[in-house]
Symmetry: C2
Subunit: 793 residues, 2 copies
């Protein structure tokens, strides 16, 4: 051992910790290779090896090394620690530790702590019907899906917020560190308040290689590396080397120093109630990839090289030399010293692990539903907008929701947060700031007092990174809390892949893993919608996130398109109460007409779809045409078309249908919210033309409703990628979702109007030209369009 290394562990401690680590590594290799002979009681034979070798060895030893050093300090200081495993395919480390701590067997009793259980534990890994080689929902102790890289650190911070007692250790792989989402998430420390929040201890695992390449951070100078992390607001402590004994001492000393530094920062802030943003400690662990594995195979370097990433020895079934390498490698961990004759982990090592829910694998925060308490919600009806007559008053739906959300915040000041990328105010949700300002733990200036609305104890989270916000939010709900996220519609695509991964996590948790308690839904408000992009233009017009959402399991995704402010209130309340969904709410921030009073809104939203009698002219009879809408602007334009048609064709029988819950359109056998064909037909008829005005791309309605009886008569209008700088009406017109084009659609499709309506059609075309000309001259829509209201008869 180098004489400069501080000796923290006694020889006995060191021996035991290293033995524990050998056990972790033994199990990791066993998972990858063995289908028989788990304890190597007999010489290793080809038939003991799995037919298909899959799994990832590279980062496992370094991760287990980190975990067991956490164990020591959890016991020493009674710490409350969870572990986020960033390196994608490092599940064997987490699985091994979970198994050794006994928690794996508590959850999955057949993978018991004995020889038969160990064999099942090995076989299930990367095996059909089993589990993957990154941390999935099936992995006890994990809140983080390791499949797609980039989100470990934002998940970790999300878990730490409002958990003052918790230390979230986050191992960041140096591969993952190259992703954009990870690269910016280091700045999360500007949003962490040491008084009320817990701590994140990042461990950058600099093991040098990705699948087939060196990593950037492993190949820059020490000066640059230190600069980078100082720049991110951390004090980096380096643990570097490959000799296990030296490294144990180094890691023990360094990690303890970090924990004490965290405690000192927290104590200082908590005892005085004041703090300057600290430089938080972090660890840079530079250890060889595939540490303790084969140094060379077939003359090629493996340990400390990219070849150690996955399965270091590929052909032990067919190559006896390779079989020998695997056997020697496994036996180097001396399994006979680690497990007793029944295959149980020996007690002197087992006692190194913490107990009960102090075990990292069994920490309740990593199964957050167990800790979750429902929100204390005010009556949303109390925030209703008065609506005496439909379509007379303009109100911003989001500003209305903000009054409710402000009180939700006030009543849940330790378990509810609001997220938005620098857009909460732009999205007219700034009413929430009255309950709590935006959290900001960086420099302040005197002028901030004049309306910047930032505070060190704020609860609204704003950073210009949708990735980081979504990651924080996921981490926050996965550990049992609640939230609300608003973002610009067009740029929600930035987090498409995060949505996909969280939906997949929810589906597995909900449908297959009874031991995972339900967590709060993610509630994502999509606003600043395509139809109101007067100055942002074409780049800000993309309502296609809904297509991504509809690809995910009906068990976990919901889409709501409330047509007005009261409906939005009702939907938000519903979503805040729900569990295990990804709720997507589409509602604009601009003032829009209100249609339903609160009672009617609740009924309408509960049904999710319904006929608006007051806007219909069929008096309950068979209609000539069904006008349907989903979304606020399309609903207004549909209604305006009805108004025109009523005036021009007083005898025309129109039925008006509005859709709030988009999945109502799907068949009930495909989606739990789907309507039966009978109910669907009773709304949309079996044979009448349906002019459906849709917020998003028209094809989505066909995708949902193509099996319906009357589908051939569905004529759907929606966004057609036509736009630039436009007035609202102009944009509607060029995409043909406007009142005039809709009225033309009706004339074209209702057979008895095709002749008699010709002059009206001409008039409608003239209207279009007149309105466009006005817009091009004045830069705005004509007053009668801007202030249009539903005609009262």
């Amino acid at each position: 051992m180098s004489p400069t290394v501080e000796v923290v562990l006694t020889a006995e401690e060191l021996r035991k910790m290293n033995a524990y680590w050998r056990a972790c590594n033994y199990l990791a290799v066993g998972m990858i290779y063995l289908r028989e002979n788990p304890l190597l009681r007999e010489p290793l034979k080809p038939e003991h090896i799995k037919n298909r070798l899959l799994g990832h060895w590279g980062s496992d030893p370094g991760q287990s090394f980190t975990w067991i050093h956490l164990n020591r300090l959890i016991k020493k200081y009674d710490l409350n620690v969870i572990y986020v495993s960033g390196p994608g395919h490092g599940a064997p480390a987490t699985l091994a530790n979970s198994y050794l701590e006994g928690h794996y067997s508590e959850i999955y009793p057949d993978r018991s702590q004995d020889e038969a259980g160990m064999l099942r534990f090995f076989r299930q890994f990367s095996f059909p019907g089993g589990i993957g080689s990154h941390c999935t929902p099936e992995t006890p102790g994990s809140i983080h899906e390791g499949g797609e890289l980039g989100y470990s650190l934002s998940h970790a911070y999300g878990a730490a917020f409002d958990n003052p007692d918790l230390i979230v250790t986050c191992v960041v792989g140096d591969g993952e560190a190259e992703t954009g989402p990870l690269a910016t998430s280091w700045h999360s420390n500007k949003f962490l308040n040491p008084i009320r929040d817990g701590a994140v201890l990042p461990v950058l695992h600099l093991n040098g290689y990705k699948i087939a390449n060196p990593t950037i951070l492993a190949r820059i100078s020490r000066r640059e590396l230190e600069g980078l992390f100082l720049g991110y607001g951390y004090t980096p402590y380096f643990v570097e080397g490959n000799d296990p004994d030296t490294m144990h001492q180094l890691m023990a000393a360094t990690m303890e120093k970090c924990i004490l530094e965290i405690r000192s920062i927290q104590e200082q802030a908590r005892s005085t109630g004041k703090f300057e943003r600290p430089l938080w400690p972090m660890i840079v662990l530079r250890s060889p990839k595939g540490w303790t594995g084969p140094k060379e195979v077939d003359g090629h370097k493996v340990e400390d090289f990219w070849r150690a990433h996955q399965v270091p020895v590929l052909d032990p079934v067919t190559n006896s030399k390779s079989l020998k390498i695997v056997e020697d490698w496994m036996r180097s961990y001396k399994p006979e010293e680690l497990f007793d004759e029944l295959g149980r982990f020996v007690p002197e090592l087992q006692e190194l692990a913490p107990e009960g829910s102090r075990r990292i694998s069994a920490n309740l925060h990593a199964n957050g539903g167990l800790l979750r308490k429902p929100l204390n919600l005010p009556r949303f009806q109390d925030y209703a907008v008065e609506v005496k007559t439909p379509g007379q008053k303009y109100v911003s739906p989001t500003a209305t929701a903000a009054t409710f959300l402000a009180d939700v915040m006030r009543q849940n000041m330790t378990s509810f947060r609001v997220f938005g990328p620098d857009e909460t105010a732009s999205n007219k949700l700034d009413g929430i700031y009255k309950a709590s300002e935006k959290i900001w733990v960086a420099e302040y200036k005197p002028e901030d007092a004049d309306g910047t609305e930032i505070a060190v104890d704020g609860r609204v989270m704003e950073m210009l990174s949708e990735h980081t916000l979504e990651g924080w939010y996921e981490g926050y709900v996965l550990t049992g809390r609640h939230g609300f996220f608003s973002t610009y519609e067009s740029f929600v695509h930035v987090i498409d892949s995060m949505f996909n991964q969280h939906a997949k996590w929810l589906e597995k948790s909900k449908t297959e893993l009874g031991w995972r308690a339900p967590i709060s839904s993610i509630n994502l408000l999509i606003t600043s919608l395509v139809w109101r992009q007067d100055h942002n233009g074409f780049t800000h017009q993309d309502p296609g996130f809904l297509d991504v959402v509809t690809n995910k399991s009906p068990e976990v995704v919901r889409i709501y398109m409330p047509p007005d402010a009261n409906c939005l209130l009702s939907v938000v309340d519903h979503c805040l109460r729900s569990e295990d969904y990804y709720n997507v709410i589409v509602s604009d921030k601009q003032p829009h007409l209100t249609f339903l009073d609160m009672d009617a809104a609740v009924k309408h939203c509960t049904k999710g779809i319904g006929i608006w009698d007051w806007a219909s002219t069929d008096a309950g009879d068979d209609p000539d045409v069904v006008m349907a809408s989903a979304g606020d602007v399309p609903t207004m334009e549909s209604l305006a078309a009805v108004a025109i048609l009523k005036e021009k064709f007083p005898d025309l029988k129109i039925r008006f249908v509005n859709v709030v819950d988009l999945f109502r359109l799907m068949p009930d056998i495909e989606h739990p919210h789907g309507l039966s064909d009978r109910d669907f037909d009773s709304l949309f008829t079996k044979d009448k033309p349906v002019i459906f005005n849709f917020h998003s791309y028209a094809s989505l309605i066909h995708k949902l409703a193509y099996r319906r009886t009357n589908h051939a008569n569905f004529h759907v209008r929606g966004y057609k990628e036509k736009g630039n700088i436009n007035t609202p009406l102009e944009l509607a017109i060029i995409n043909q979702i406007d009142r005039f084009n809709l009225a033309i659609d009706v004339i074209d499709r209702v057979s008895h109007l095709q002749k008699t309506g010709a002059h009206v059609k001409d008039w409608l075309k003239e209207q279009i030209i007149e309105h466009l000309n006005y817009a091009y001259a004045e830069g705005i829509d004509k007053p009668e369009i801007r202030d249009w209201t539903w005609p009262i008869k």
Copy 2:
């Protein structure tokens, strides 16, 4: 002026440069406010002001400041410079400079350099039918869409690769700097070779605020900020202050220093042929947001605060005090000194700008199609796989394509690059390394010689950031070059929003802007497909990118699903020749059956859809059923189903249709590649059951084909979000795209089989159980499934 500031500019230079800057700022304000009286020849009246005030003032002065200092050095050193404007809504700066340089009027003659032209120039801005307030394709001199933030720096690096003479100045907004994609793209300098590549000069514009919040980088310590950029591999030079004269001297000195440093790095490397990775210079420009605008409005701080972000004075039409503020503000720039009586920019200022294509706004690299030369392509047919009989041989399509791409690389060693996130080898494209290795400009280790395949002059770009790769690639093609990008299917969603924005850019450029010359298409190969995720499982199963793609304009998106290696070759060749498309190619990396020899493949891919006679049993007659497929695995399973059906029901008339060009399914009136109804019916019949086996989510086929005559008989199988760790057959079975379930589908839908086929159906169900049991026991599919070949009769 502070005595410590180096005096670089003479008093005369300073006066003129500042006057030029005043002109820029005057125009920026004019764009936001004026619809009449562009030169303020008369006192400002409410009717001169636009009805709706839209636009962004905040970052304009700092950006124009940067631009005009570049002008000075372009002239002094005859530099070749383009400018990438990162701060989303800073178009007024680019527009003003483009107008003052005369290039705007060359492109848009009606926005001439006189009073009437200036008025039109002002009016079009943020006005219906006009242009937006961020840089769009309509903006001369821009290759960068400023609407969605995060990609400026990766675009800049993409432009610099293989352009040794070019200096790409990239202004990074401190808001944008918070996004993930931007945060990691600083590391692009590890992939820049000073011998053969140009340089990027980043200017971090630290103007302090986003829409409504301070920015992180503006509120951390100087020590952290310096550390961060050192950590990213740069030497940051600070230009900080608010006094224009001082700042001009500072900027002039600093920018010159940076340019000379860049030149020195390049000369050193180029003269010796060797280099160590340098610390590249960058500028941190800390100037007030809304610099030179109103200091206060209504008692609220505006300049140097977030209130300067957009329109600083909101009500000049209705509030005479506000009108006065706007007028005073505009007159503070002294327009009468800047423009002559006809409204022309005065010659003594005009001559500060460079001339011809040295003008930043007119630099040819910013209209890359003008510089683009077609690739020198080898005959793709020479790389064909021999196919004597369909379905007998397994070949990896991507490995085959790699042999072709390697020669494409060899023949285009200064204008073609290959991109992939650490996955080129994993995607079996490592054959390309034989032509050129991976570029790596960071530390090397001795072991790298053994198979790491990195080199300072490599042309394959690998970094673990799909964002950065896509950004580089876009920047590379936007400046007139060519490329190829491969990525894992499930994680291509990471760049959904980048795809959207580039497709929008292409659509505008192609359909509305004749002056933008066509550029090379983006060629995106999606591989490591959903159906071969034996060990990665559920998180790696998402074929939904195609849904995102189909939402974009038919003018610019294409989807190809070649069923085998030869078809992939044909498709890749086609895509490499194409212009102004976003081509998406879906093809797996694993060995798959080959079906078509090269001639047949070319014919099939050219048609994009066709009947495979050799797999059909209808002998050209009316079939009983159509089996259709799109994608490699679904095609194999469909064929295997046909083989079963042929054996069990020798009289059954089956037609086999394969789809390569997915948009063939759309009606010809909706997509240029769409089939006419007549041609569609001749393939799919008007009334026979169609069992369509699809690579992705089944609903996409309905979305494309819902208008077709026979749509009601389309029974589509695809991915249903069912999966975990599965063997290939097991995964196919649980999603019902496998041979057995397809055969059952046929029996269920062909009326005369419904009774006679009952025992076969039972047998098929037994097969399913037997195969699943085998997989669960052995971890692999049964040999006859793994090695299945098409039966030869």
